[in-house]
């Protein structure tokens, strides 16, 4: 039991340092930075579909008292991510390349537990697989796994965290997709 506790503590602590991305199918050099993202589709993986749907329902029932933009306030994670990722990639891609379809399969959305964050540290997490296809040929261009982790330790960590956590995580997730596709920062 002590060991489990220790490993979980270490897991939470280490996740303050990194947001790992593992490439399953690398993007060909010829596609880097020259693809236009035309469509984005977000789905929930079988891993934690019920949990994610429950989070969506809770949000719709209670709303969000944060400073989340109104258009995202009552949207499900799927809908919010589609908006955030689309807007972010539109600001980064160059609109001149061949069209691509981005498919995101979310495995986990976890919010740091306040008590755990104060006592041992905890993390906010948004994790899932991204697959990018050529719109015309339907060929898989690249597949990678994005795990966005934001460590929260102590009262200060919670204070820095602020509000709109889901949106913060989605934006970082979108940024990693842009990096993987070789888009330049604008």
């Amino acid at each position: 039991m002590l060991r489990t506790f220790l490993i979980l503590f270490v897991g939470f602590s280490i996740s303050a340092c990194v947001s790992p991305t593992q490439v399953v199918t690398p993007l060909g050099e010829e596609h880097k930075g020259v693809r236009n993202v035309e469509t984005i589709e977000v789905a929930y993986g079988e891993f934690s579909k019920s949990k994610l749907v429950a989070i969506d329902l809770e949000r719709k029932a209670e709303g969000d008292e944060s400073d989340t933009p109104d258009e995202l306030q009552y949207k499900s994670l799927k809908e919010a991510m589609e908006v955030i990722v689309t807007q972010h990639l539109e600001s980064r891609d160059n609109d001149i390349g061949q069209n691509s379809h981005v498919e995101i399969e979310i495995d986990n959305l976890k919010f740091a537990n306040a008590a755990a964050a104060i006592l041992i540290g905890d993390t906010d997490q948004l994790a899932g697989t991204v697959r990018v296809y050529d719109t015309e040929t339907k060929a898989l261009l690249t597949e990678f796994y994005v795990d966005v982790l934001k460590g929260r330790a102590g009262l200060l960590g919670l204070a820095i965290r602020g509000s709109g956590v889901r949106e913060q995580l989605s934006l970082e997730y979108a940024d990693i997709i842009g990096d993987q596709l070789g888009f330049e920062d604008k």
Partner: protein
């Protein structure tokens, strides 16, 4: 402060990291998987390119990424094919009735915390190959199997925090092997 936490965390994770031999892990899970009774066929079977079945699973995400998961599906498939092979040797001087030629194998594992002290692992194993009948007719196959298990295989046993990952890989790879066996059995008229 943050830097110190990171250094301690990295060091502890490295100390606690394991290399799992998924085959051994499967042996520990004996009894959890019900196999259909083995019935020897009238087929002489050959297995080719079996080395492609030995590989390391790609761990996705942060959890359990400090561990290595080595899969040796070659031995499992060889054993299972031997069980249904006519003489049990997987070779015949007169030539095989069916050749199982492996092309590629890959597997991935992702583990996610589902609660304060609970986590799940999902393994996916994919194989591609072909079966070639004695008359030269080839049929390609591609099997993909997934398995979800709790990440902590046994809280009381040491070094098993990510042991459930090995169990889920073992289960998925065993199901892939079963699919190949069922496919080969179709040649037994």
């Amino acid at each position: 402060m943050n830097k110190a936490i990171c250094i301690i965390a990295v060091a502890t994770v490295l100390i606690s990291a394991c290399t799992y031999s998924v085959k051994d892990e499967e042996a520990k899970q004996v009894g959890e998987r019900t196999k259909s009774p083995i019935k020897t066929s009238n087929l002489d079977i050959e297995l080719e390119n079996e080395d492609t079945l030995k590989h390391e699973a790609l761990v996705l995400g942060i959890m359990c990424s400090a561990n290595k998961y080595n899969l040796d599906m070659a031995e499992d498939l060889r054993t299972s094919l031997s069980d249904i092979d006519k003489n049990g040797l997987l070779s015949d001087p007169k030539g095989a009735d069916v050749r199982v030629v492996m092309s590629s194998t890959k597997s991935s594992l992702k583990c996610i915390a589902t609660g304060v002290i609970s986590a799940k692992c999902m393994a996916k194993v994919e194989v591609v190959g072909e079966t070639i009948a004695k008359n030269g007719e080839a049929k390609s196959f591609a099997f993909s199997k997934s398995s979800i298990r709790p990440a902590i295989a046994s809280v009381s046993a040491p070094l098993t925090t990510c042991g459930g990952g090995a169990s889920s890989l073992a289960e998925a790879s065993a199901e892939v092997v079963d699919e190949i066996i069922e496919l080969v059995k179709l040649y037994d008229n």
